[in-house]
Point group: C2
Chain length 147, copies 2
Amino acid sequence: MENYQHILIAADFSEHGRQVITRAQELAERYQAKLSICHILEDFPIADFAYEPMISIDVDMRDAMLDSGKKHLADIGRKFNIPTENQWVEFGSPSLNLVRLAESNHVDLIVVGSHGRHGIKLLLGSTANGILHHALCDVLAVRLTKE
Amino acid sequence: MENYQHILIAADFSEHGRQVITRAQELAERYQAKLSICHILEDFPIADFAYEPMISIDVDMRDAMLDSGKKHLADIGRKFNIPTENQWVEFGSPSLNLVRLAESNHVDLIVVGSHGRHGIKLLLGSTANGILHHALCDVLAVRLTKE
């Protein structure tokens, strides 16, 4: 069985996200694996306040969100020693885009946070779940706990 | 972040199950963690051939299934150096019983095989999925591939 060589963090910038990054970094050190991080921005339509038909995120808002995502990842990258070229931010489906990124970059382990049995995410189908369904590599779901 | 101290293998005795065990054992060595293995036998009712009401597995059949499961685990235990007291076989729900076993034995990482996007398991809700939903610890889904 091969050692993990490329570990990808699915970052969600939540308050507990540091647990996912810390575990992934620790595994990357143990395996001497390359460590990457990505954040997928959901391109969901937004209902306006007068209950008019849903409006999509406009170009300016997309750019602002991308910039903000990149800055977030850059901060994490500095703190956890992940180089800029291993930081990816894009719009799309959190699970599908992440799995596609993993495949095209020969990732062999995706590390993602899991909210477990609690919370609305369970009903909606969590990101961890979606990744598990679609990934062609191993997936480590780190159980998020209050710190 | 603490190192993993007790790793539990969710064994399904499938033809690809060895990949799960190998990865779990390799992780246990890296973390110097205790390694356990369990197999949950599904207590499903069986339809008889004349489409009569479903009949449950009878006591003799349960005993035979338990014995067979224990023998399987004992074989694996010998091969992968997992002592008898860390081998568990029981009837129940593959995800719920496993998660309960994990909790009562302070397991901090469950390792389970994942069939990914293919196969009927995806439609039915896979064991990996159920474990992910319910576990209070980390879950590593090892992507099963043809060997």
